[in-house]
């Protein structure tokens, strides 16, 4: 699978991953080999797009090409199928600071948001960021 397809699917509302035909585990984002067992017997599947925040950080000092977007909050989310992905929490910084470490463990759903690309990013047309939206408590 091409990396561009992964991000275009995300913009279209679908989180694409792979299911291993040998060990049954999931890999996301896609890879040439199963992230668990190394098998190439992989089937492209749509993931649930749900998971929980494992860790996060609000970045105040951004690299060239990203400064206009700062401050922003990068997080790692463990998807319900097992893989972890990197993206951003779509809350204002004040809200993130108020919630603090309590955000760890919070349930989220994943969607894609388009940003302008930058000179060193592999996709020269656009940059897509996986965004994490907090699911309301029930």
């Amino acid at each position: 699978m091409k990396f561009v397809d992964f991000f275009n699917a995300l913009l279209g509302g679908k989180l694409i991953g792979q299911k291993c035909g040998d060990c049954g585990s999931y890999t996301c984002p896609p890879k040439a080999t199963c992230d668990n067992c190394g098998s190439r017997n992989l089937e492209e599947v749509e993931m649930s797009g749900k998971g929980r925040i494992m860790t996060f950080t609000t970045t105040y000092v951004a690299p060239a090409g990203y400064s206009e977007e700062a401050p922003y909050t990068v997080a790692m989310v463990e998807l319900d199928e097992g893989p972890w992905i990197v993206g951003r929490i779509d809350l204002p910084v004040e809200e993130i600071e108020r919630l603090g470490q309590a955000l760890v463990g919070a349930r989220v759903s994943v969607y894609g948001r388009e940003y302008p690309t930058e000179p060193f990013y592999p996709n020269k047309e656009k940059r897509v960021v996986p965004m994490f939206r907090l699911e309301s408590e029930r």
């Binding site: 990396f3 991000f7 984002p29 992230d35 494992m54 860790t55 996060f56 950080t57 609000t58 970045t59 105040y60 000092v61 951004a62 690299p63 060239a64 090409g65 990203y66 400064s67 977007e69 700062a70 922003y72 990068v74 790692m76 463990e78 893989p83 972890w84 992905i85 990197v86 993206g87 951003r88 600071e97 603090g100 470490q101 760890v104 060193f120 990013y121 592999p122 940059r127 897509v128 960021v129 996986p130």
Partner: protein
């Protein structure tokens, strides 16, 4: 395989060098190493040079030939090694392997980098080329960000309240700045030697929960070493420092390593490889120069290398175990936080500090009775990991 030893070491002062090129910085460090090696230039058979982001900071690639030519080694094989912040440690290890295998007798190693002069925005982007270039950088993940993510994971996994952990992290900065302030080669020589925990906690937030003083600085600098087969070294210098073991390991993106990032599995593999080659255990190591790019990074490193149990490294800092008079002094030269971090030059600058200590020449902050020590250099988010064990004793 033959035994290998270090003949001489050199490093520039770390800090801001807008007036010196990558070549100038390497040459300055090289000649300091050369002067104490008791060899002639023609004895050097190859150059192993480390640089990470010359293209982005100086618009310069293909660097190794320019380095070799500058120091009068026209025509010798010269190779650039790139392993992010571990670039010159990778170069050093490959040089050791070539001499051990008998392919060369005497080679030069080193690195140079100019991140301070490049400025924060370009420097931050250049360093961020070491995260996954597709799936991590798109979110704007930076290196302070990587270790900020690790700090929160550490707090959660070991059930240490974040504020309590931050105080112990701050103690790493206080300690390393104390040592950097007395090291004449350090970026912060004469500065920040009397920091308090509150100063670290209250400095500017860079990537929560890491503040400016949780981070190593952007640095310009160069480092060098000359190594030789041990039998040759013993005829050339009074105090050869022997390379007893090396290790290296790799990893993919942070998201592939998942919760293991606080256990730094590649570092565990790399250090175990070095211990096995040296036929040693952590108990044989008198002190370490390790990759404290951020305060939490030093804590994670001491655990993964096997000096403390997972989740206990923070208490070792708090209890003074890693101070100069503790059981395991960590970063007596100030580490990356106090000494500075010219990334491609950092690994060999750690070798510099270890060699000076083992020869009894590190007068500013000596580790008492040190005979064997270890370096640890991390490239990227655990993508490249190198450990080197050095000793005044041949095996």
């Amino acid at each position: 395989m033959r035994d290998v030893a270090v003949l001489g070491v050199g490093m520039t002062k770390f800090g801001k060098h807008p007036d010196k090129s990558l070549v100038d910085l390497f040459a300055e460090a090289f000649f300091e190493a050369f002067e104490e090696s008791n060899i002639e230039l023609k004895d050097i058979q190859a150059l192993y040079y480390g640089n990470f982001v010359g293209e982005m900071t100086d618009g310069s690639g293909n660097l190794s030939g320019f380095m070799a030519d500058e120091i009068g080694l026209r025509g010798i094989p010269a190779i650039r090694y790139e392993g992010a912040c571990a670039s010159s440690s990778v170069a050093f290890r490959e040089a050791v392997r070539a001499v051990a295998a008998g392919y060369y007798d005497i080679v030069a190693v080193g690195g140079s980098e100019r991140l301070y002069t490049a400025g924060t925005e370009i420097g931050t982007r250049a360093l961020a080329t070491a995260v996954d270039g597709v799936y991590e950088i798109t979110a704007g993940l930076t290196f302070p960000g990587v270790f900020a993510l690790a700090a929160r994971l550490y707090s959660k996994a070991y059930e240490i309240p974040l504020e309590e952990l931050r105080e112990m992290m701050a103690m790493v900065s206080v300690k390393n700045h104390r040592y950097g302030a007395i090291n004449p080669k350090a970026q912060f020589y004469g500065k920040l030697g009397n920091l308090k925990v509150e100063d670290v906690l209250n400095s500017r937030m860079i990537s929560s929960p890491l503040t400016l003083l949780d981070c190593c600085p952007m640095t310009d600098g160069g480092s060098a070493a000359i190594i030789a087969a041990a039998d040759i070294a013993e005829d050339l210098v009074d105090t050869p420092v022997y390379v007893r073991g090396t290790g290296q390991s790799s990893a993919g993106g942070l998201f592939r390593q998942k919760g293991d990032i606080i256990r730094a599995i590649p570092r565990r593999k790399s250090s175990q490889m070095a211990f096995k080659e040296a036929n040693m255990t952590p108990k044989d190591i008198d002190f370490v120069e390790i990759h404290d790019c951020f305060t939490i990074a030093e804590i994670i490193a001491t655990e993964a290398m096997g000096f403390f149990e997972y989740g206990q490294g923070c208490y070792a800092v708090r209890d003074g175990v890693t101070s100069i008079d503790g059981d395991l002094p960590v970063n007596p030269d100030g580490g990356l936080i106090g000494k500075g971090h010219p990334v491609g030059a950092t690994g060999v600058s750690q070798v510099y500090s270890v060699v000076k200590q083992l020869r009894g020449e590190f007068k500013e902050n000596p580790v008492r009775d040190a005979e064997t020590a270890m370096t640890d250099t991390l490239g990227g988010d655990f993508g490249t990991l190198v450990n080197i064990i050095l000793s005044i004793h041949r095996r």
